[in-house]
């Protein structure tokens, strides 16, 4: 039927229900010579009479329609795991603390509520989360142990992290010291950089998803919305990207302007969320704070945040400018990825008027980092003088994220090596060797040797352009 025929049919239908004719076919024949239209009107009138109470009561009780049944109950045994307690609830699943009875260790289990468990798209999302997190091996990203299925219940088993989320700290009114702030920023940027180097966008970075462990290590949780590059998806056998067009993902308070405008998220969207998160962590205030979600979205789109210095006069200009750049409205104005962001973040020990000790309130973190590095000493090689600066330049120019991170890492390893052999304090060594251009990534490894290895073997890296 053409639009014109539909318009005509609608007109005739409306006239007929207003004033029902005794003989519909005759009445139609008198008023319309198009048999397609006449047949449509007759059919619709017949169904109008048959429809009974169809759609006359609004959709039922939402409490019933939206009800969720927890997948597991405390005390229940699921495969080799004994469920202890529900410890969290996300947009798409419930998280339990459980005991792996074979290895006698505590794990976290994430599963879908019973109502969502049979849904193929929800299952695919959970699988994708497991794959995204499992593709990353970084101390700042929660380790995935398994993706299992028992009696139709699909669940992810990960390391159990004891600690508090940044959200807890913010709500609690804890204002971090400058040293702690830098440390948190660097750890978070480093973990995010490892995801970005693998082409993975987190897309839901927010204080609730960032945890500080009891020994001071920052961990990113919940890769439930993470997106892998297309090639990786195809390799994993995923039929399609689960989130269909127009579907809503993310958490409005941490969405970037482009997400609010309905444009696709990319690495720079995570950079924006990083900026919002750090601003909020530093000041206890959301940079675009407003009484309602909608007003906040309006401010994300149009307003500039209050200058950070107004709340935190103690921050270095370098840190303030990094956070400001993350918060730029236009993605092009931000860092291209967390790798660049990490490179630009000031170092705890060299920034500000006073020297901030690396081992401070969060000293455990720095120690943990160092020990982690020592595990990778096989990659340590002394670098010829000046070579590390060359590597940083190379890194900046590298075509792929993996390549860039690799260069930065190599330079860092060289410095670490020099520091250990000469016994000079690392900062001193660097300043001496480097002049005014410090190598900024030294504290936190962006990526472990597997990816460095890829770059060394010359496997193609991931260009920014294909990451969206």
């Amino acid at each position: 039927m053409t639009p014109e025929q539909w318009r005509r049919a609608r007109e005739l239908f409306e006239a007929a229900i207003d004033d029902p004719p005794t003989d519909l076919p005759r009445c139609l024949a008198d008023r319309c010579d198009d048999h397609v239209v006449r047949r449509e009107v007759a059919s619709l009138m017949r169904n109008h009479a048959r429809a009974g109470e169809f759609l006359t009561h609004p959709v039922g009780d939402l409490a019933e329609l939206l009800e969720e049944t927890p997948p597991f109950a405390p005390g229940q045994t699921v495969g080799p795991y004994r469920i202890d307690a529900e410890v969290g609830r996300g947009g798409m699943g419930r998280v339990y603390r459980a005991k792996d009875t074979r290895l006698n260790r505590t794990v976290a289990i994430k599963a879908l509520p019973a109502e969502l468990a049979p849904d193929p798209s929800q299952r695919e999302r959970l699988r994708r989360e497991a794959r995204a997190a499992a593709a990353l091996s970084h101390p700042g990203i929660c380790t995935v142990y398994a993706l299992d299925e028992v009696d139709g219940a699909l669940y992810i088993v990960t390391g159990y992290i004891e600690g508090r989320t940044l959200h807890d700290e913010i709500v609690n009114g804890d204002r971090p010291s400058y040293a702690r702030l830098i440390d948190t920023a660097r750890q978070l940027a480093s973990a995010l950089a490892s995801a970005h180097a693998a082409g993975i966008t987190h897309r839901d970075l927010k204080p609730e998803n960032v945890m500080r462990t009891v020994d001071g290590r920052i961990k990113i949780l919940d890769f439930g919305l993470a997106r892998q590059p297309r090639a990786a998806l195809a390799a994993a056998g995923a039929a399609s990207i689960v989130t269909h067009a127009g579907a809503v993902v993310g958490t409005p308070a941490y969405m970037a302007p482009e997400q609010l405008n309905g444009q696709p998220a990319d690495l720079r969207t995570d950079v924006f969320a990083f900026g919002v998160l750090m601003y909020e962590y530093a000041t206890g205030r959301h940079p675009f704070d407003a009484p309602t979600a909608i007003a906040r979205a309006g401010r994300v789109l149009t307003a500039e945040p209050e200058p950070l210095a107004r709340y935190r006069a103690d921050l270095s200009a370098a840190l303030v400018s990094v956070i400001d750049r993350c918060l730029a409205k236009a993605p092009d104005e931000r860092f291209a990825s967390a790798i660049d962001l990490l490179g630009a973040l000031p170092e705890a020990e060299t920034v500000g008027r006073r020297a901030v000790p690396l081992v401070g309130p969060s000293g455990t973190t720095a120690i943990a980092d160092t020990s982690w590095w020592r595990m990778h000493q096989n990659r340590d090689r002394a670098l010829p003088p000046g070579r590390h600066r060359g590597l940083v330049r190379e890194g900046r120019a590298a075509r792929s994220n993996v390549g860039r991170l690799h260069c930065v890492e190599r330079a860092r390893h060289g410095l670490e090596h020099a520091q250990r052999t000469s016994g000079v304090h690392r900062g001193d060594a660097r300043r001496r060797a480097d002049g005014a251009a410090p190598l900024r990534d030294a504290d936190h490894p962006g990526r472990r040797s597997d990816h460095g290895g890829d770059a060394r073997r010359g496997r193609p890296g991931l260009d920014h352009g294909c990451l969206t």
């Binding site: 229900i17 409490a63 993310g250 609010l260 149009t302």
Partner: protein, 181 residues
């Protein structure tokens, strides 16, 4: 300092980019309601949408238009409920019915959530024929607005809305009961 590059929405009157927030707010409210839920109490979509509007629409926000809000809220509610029904295996339950029981369930409006995905698909087809028809069904069925409220939301007269609502019901009923056109 941050470059003041403002990417304001291309058309200030167009609030579609705010759909994610409405959707999120509705889901959040629904969850809050359910935690407070007492036995025998039902949660009506209309109440939820009104509360969401009160919460979201305050002075100085991009919302200037209640009509626009209602349209987006109705669409979001449709998306939430249909997603959930799909997740509960509604399609399978619906497909398991024979045509006679199907038609009977539609007539008596007794299908529960089993018919929701089928209704949603038919509605998508109707939308291609006549987008306004789908809007009417979203407002009337998915958020339970009255004839007068729906008419106001669509800026048409209540009498016109009533006739077009009848048309939408007839069209969808035919589609779902398998009556040959």
């Amino acid at each position: 300092m941050t470059q003041a590059v403002t990417t304001a929405p291309s058309n200030p009157g167009d609030a579609h980019h705010l759909a994610p927030i409405v959707y999120d707010e509705l889901r959040r409210l629904a969850r809050t309601y359910m935690r407070r839920e007492r036995p025998g109490q039902t949660l009506e979509a209309t109440a939820l949408v009104h509360e969401a509007f009160l919460r979201l629409a305050d002075a100085g926000t991009p919302w200037t238009d209640r009509r626009h809000f209602l349209g987006i809220a109705a669409r979001s509610m449709r998306q939430i409920l249909v997603e959930r029904a799909r997740a509960r295996g509604a399609q399978k339950r619906w497909a398991g019915l024979d045509p006679v029981s199907m038609t009977a369930a539609l007539e008596r409006a007794s299908a529960g959530d089993a018919a929701l995905p089928a209704i949603d698909e038919a509605l998508t087809r109707l939308e291609q024929v006549d987008p306004e028809q789908a809007r009417i069904v979203e407002l009337r069925y998915f958020i339970g607005l009255s004839v007068e409220e729906s008419a106001e939301a669509l800026n048409i007269s209540p009498a016109t809305l009533k006739r077009r609502w009848a048309l939408a019901r007839a069209w969808l009923f035919r589609e779902l009961s398998g009556d040959p056109a």
